[in-house]
Symmetry: D2
Subunit: 90 residues, 4 copies
């Protein structure tokens, strides 16, 4: 990434929270919790993962596309973003 | 948009195909077609709409972010893209 | 579908609204409206299409799975729903 | 859940794989890996999470809707599924 220390710390905090949410799913499956409960946990993980992804994309757009070192870098970073969008916009 | 004539023609062709697909859903509901059939038509519209959206985003990224007239325009176009992504990445 | 007249009328009204929204995209592309505007129209269509799809799925679940004529019909309708979900949950 | 032992084991294996994938994201952010790489890891997690969710939904549909103990249970389980779908179909 090569972004600011502050952004890195924020992203890492989000990933750690996600790991904790995944462990909650593991415990709920292990304890044979009601399906509705498991599905709610999974939906909240999807939301948190999307929030993290949107943040990485925004950082990428800002640092590597808008503030690219030169035009070639800019083209390359934009192509990476367009490629990443394929998973989400379908 | 202000893009090339060729891109405009391609996007308009996609929109017209989508209108035709929407009319097929209308007919299938009107004729009380099986739900499974209606759901398949709706899924194919979602796919086609996503394809069109991805193309508009890619054009926008290329024309207005990568090839912006100046830095202020670039920042503005990037912010518009980040905003549009919120609907899809969640 | 074979659902109630009232449900059919509601679904058809949603489809007609969607056709109108698609025509708004067509006009905006034709008039070379700003990309940000086109992207907003496309996002609102995605939302409306998802709303319609959720309603068809809920009707299907209620009419053909919960209130199936017999167990064989119920299995078949549930399999159709699980298949339709593949497009959305990925 | 109250499902079969075999299903439970399969679901738990998927959750553990997801935890491993989340740790890979953590390492990649910590090592300041290229954004494109982080975005690919996040996209693969989204796919794996969706696969797990689809499986829990299918199990729920099969065990608690199709094979419900009685009609009241069936209605309740169908309503839980319809509610869970709101996160994905929008």
């Amino acid at each position: 990434m090569g972004h600011t220390i502050r952004e890195k710390a924020k992203l890492l905090a989000r990933v750690r929270r996600l790991k904790g949410q995944m462990e909650a799913v593991e415990r709920s499956l292990d304890a044979e919790a009601p399906c509705g409960e498991v599905l709610q946990l999974l939906a909240s993980i999807r939301g948190a993962l999307a929030g993290l992804t949107h943040e990485v994309m925004e950082d990428h757009l800002h640092e590597h596309v808008v503030h690219a070192a030169d035009d070639a870098e800019r083209e390359k970073a934009a192509a990476e973003l367009a490629e990443a969008l394929r998973t989400y916009i379908r």
